[in-house]
Each structure stands twice: as structure tokens, then as C-alpha cells.
Symmetry: C2
Subunit: 213 residues, 2 copies
């Protein structure tokens, strides 16, 4: 994973960070990636779940998925993971902003063929989404594994942008009688809704109890 | 706005919706778009704020932005807006899913040159993000307007995917002693944090009071 021309953040370089630790932390805090690829000059952006292990992301989907079939051919891929942290409300329209953490990754992917590697990729995705769930549920059977493609995406280069804190206004605007500040935003889990078809009285899964903490 | 080859949802067509009302509702509920474009076969995905008016989206950024300079040349653009509604926890690993609403739009953009049109585009973006804020704050001045590019993106075709409700498991798995259901997820505003440099005692902005409701 390194800094290259394509990953270089052009605008507001003070918001740009390139260290592996920051990028991994953003990837670990998120769970939804936007995958960009080109087919004969036409861009496509598809949202998908992922899991991370080192400098690799794991993606999965139907073996018949257009996206996965394109990606597994070695297409160039751009992955964006963005976490929204708040609205930044300045005294002027111009200085309004967002607090956010965003990672942009570039690389290519390969399809995993070995069943054990596929299962391990799926386990990484599942544990990334909700830790502990994998061991609570029925594992994929042979038929399900065949119907699923698992891709390993190697992060070749990457960058991140982070904004935090209060608005930065023009000096002469600080005297305005306008409320300014930050409205924090957070993706929060609500009260779990049990499937009406539960097989009797079943306690809330441990993975969900931990997830909500 | 119409359904075309590129916008057709291939996987799980039962989750696909194409009507304008559903797509507009998703765009209105979100505020962060992922913009995909290609530069010589290399895909880029950039997160950005937007506003909607009819079948048009407005995007803005620094006049020096690489993305905006590429888009204003008429490049093909793919826009994704995804809202996460919950984790769908099934009895088998295979049937885990997300509840979500996602719109994918295709089209091209043009740069607005007329200052009044630019201001109107910026107002639409601002009102989309937090209604009422535009009239509370100082309007853009000539210098700020010059430093800002405003793009009008026309939705040429689009599709949406929506999943809601409980997991759908294999019939034979419903007897398993595994908790299953949905963990709702929602992006929630927290307590507003006033800028320490407020010009005295200033009441929380009306726009923020309304936003939190």
C-alpha cells in the first residue's frame, strides 16, 4: 500500500492523511463500501459490504453478479468508505462543511476458488459486520458456496481525508449574530426486532448484545 | 429519466424499483452521494454532498477540484446514494443481508456559469442538507462564488434497490435455536455543539431545532 498519483488528495491537503493506521481504522469503523469500476468508459458505482484483513478487503455476492464478474477479470477498482460524523454549520454559506472520515483505495481483485479460502473470506466479511455472529449460525453448505463469489481485493494505494471540529469562518464573520457549531451525526443501532418465526423463546444473540454496546 | 441497459438491476430483480417517486424519495432522504467517473479507464469514486430539484442534482466544490473539472467536460457519471436501514440477521450465514434503500443514477453534468444560477444551485444543496439554514447565514460573496464550481447533473436514467423486513431463511433452518431478526440502523443527530467563538449568547438556530425533529 503506497501513495501514488491516483491516490493523491488534491484539494485541501491539510485534510489528507496517508498513514496505514488511519486508513485501516476508517475501514474497520465502516462496513459499507462504494465500489467503482469502468466498463468501456462507463462508470458504475455499487454499494457493498466488505471485510478487511491486513491490506486486503473481501467482497462477496452472487456468482452471477455483473459487478463481481467484471471485477474478477482484473478490472481497475476504486473503493470508497466514508463515515459521516456531523454537519458543520458556519456563519457563512460558503464555509459550511461536513465532519467525516473517508478512505479511497485503488487496486484489483481476484476471485477465490478454493472452498476453504472462500469460507475464510466470508467469515472475515461476517465478523467485520457483526463480530461473533459467524459462530452462532449455520455455516454455508456446498450449494450456497457455489452460488457465492468471494473476491480478494488488494489495496495497492490509498489515501484518506478527515475533517473534524468546529467551522472555520472568515475573521470578520465571527461577530455575526448567527448560531454556529457542529451537529454530530452517528449511525446508531435501534432496538433489535425478533423474527416472528423464531423457534420458540430464544434469547437475543450474544453478538447483537455486544454490537449494541 | 428512463430505464436503460446500464441502469437495469441484474441481481434479485424483486428488489429493483424504477419509479421516479421512489428514486426521488431516496435522494431526498439522503445527503451524501458517491460520484463515480473514469479517467482513461481508471475509476474514481468521490463522496460529495448534493441537492435535488426535479430530475437534476446539484454538486459543488472548489473550482480547482479534479473531480469537478473532469465532470464539467461532459464525462459519463454514475451517482450512488445508499441509505442503510438495518442488519438482517438470518439463521444461516448465507442469508444474512442488509436493509437499505439505494439509488443509482446515470447522466452527465454541466458547469453553471451564470452567478444567479450558481447561487440557486448552492441554495438547493444547502436547503437539501439542512432546511432553513440558507436564510440564517451570510450569502456567498463574489470572491467565494468565483472560487466555487456548481454543477448541474441531469438524471438520464436511474434505478433503485430496496430491501426491508425480516430475514428469509431456508425452510429447514426455521427450526434452529438461533436468534434471528433485524437490528435497525439510523443516522441520528446528537446534541448540537456550539462553536466556542459564538458572538455572545446566541440561541440555537431554528434550522437545527427543526433538523433534530
Amino acid at each position: 500500500m503506497q501513495i501514488s498519483e491516483r491516490a493523491q488528495v488534491r484539494r485541501i491537503p491539510k485534510r489528507a492523511v496517508y498513514d496505514r493506521e488511519t486508513i485501516h481504522a476508517i475501514l474497520d469503523a465502516g462496513f459499507l463500501a462504494h465500489i467503482g469500476f469502468c466498463v468501456e468508459g462507463q462508470p458504475f458505482v455499487i454499494p457493498t459490504l466488505y471485510g478487511r484483513s491486513g491490506d486486503k478487503l473481501y467482497l462477496h455476492g452472487s456468482a452471477a453478479s455483473r459487478m463481481l464478474r467484471t471485477l474478477e477479470k482484473g478490472a481497475q477498482i476504486c473503493v470508497d468508505v466514508t463515515l459521516v460524523d456531523g454537519l458543520v454549520l458556519a456563519r457563512s454559506a460558503f464555509h459550511h462543511s461536513m465532519n467525516y472520515r473517508s478512505a479511497v483505495l485503488f487496486g484489483t481483485a481476484r476471485k477465490l476458488d478454493d472452498p476453504q479460502q472462500k469460507i475464510e473470506g466470508l467469515r472475515i466479511i461476517s465478523e467485520h459486520l457483526i463480530a461473533g455472529r459467524w459462530d452462532e449460525v449455520r455455516a454455508p453448505n456446498e450449494k450456497e458456496l457455489k452460488a457465492t463469489s468471494v473476491l480478494e481485493f488488494v489495496i495497492e494505494d490509498a489515501s484518506a481525508k478527515v475533517r473534524s471540529g468546529h467551522p472555520v469562518d472568515e475573521e470578520e464573520d465571527y461577530g455575526l449574530q448567527v448560531w454556529a457549531g457542529v451537529v454530530p451525526l452517528e449511525l446508531k443501532p435501534g432496538r433489535p426486532l425478533a423474527d416472528p418465526r423464531l423457534a420458540g423463546e430464544i434469547a437475543l444473540a450474544e453478538s447483537v448484545v455486544r454490537y449494541r454496546k
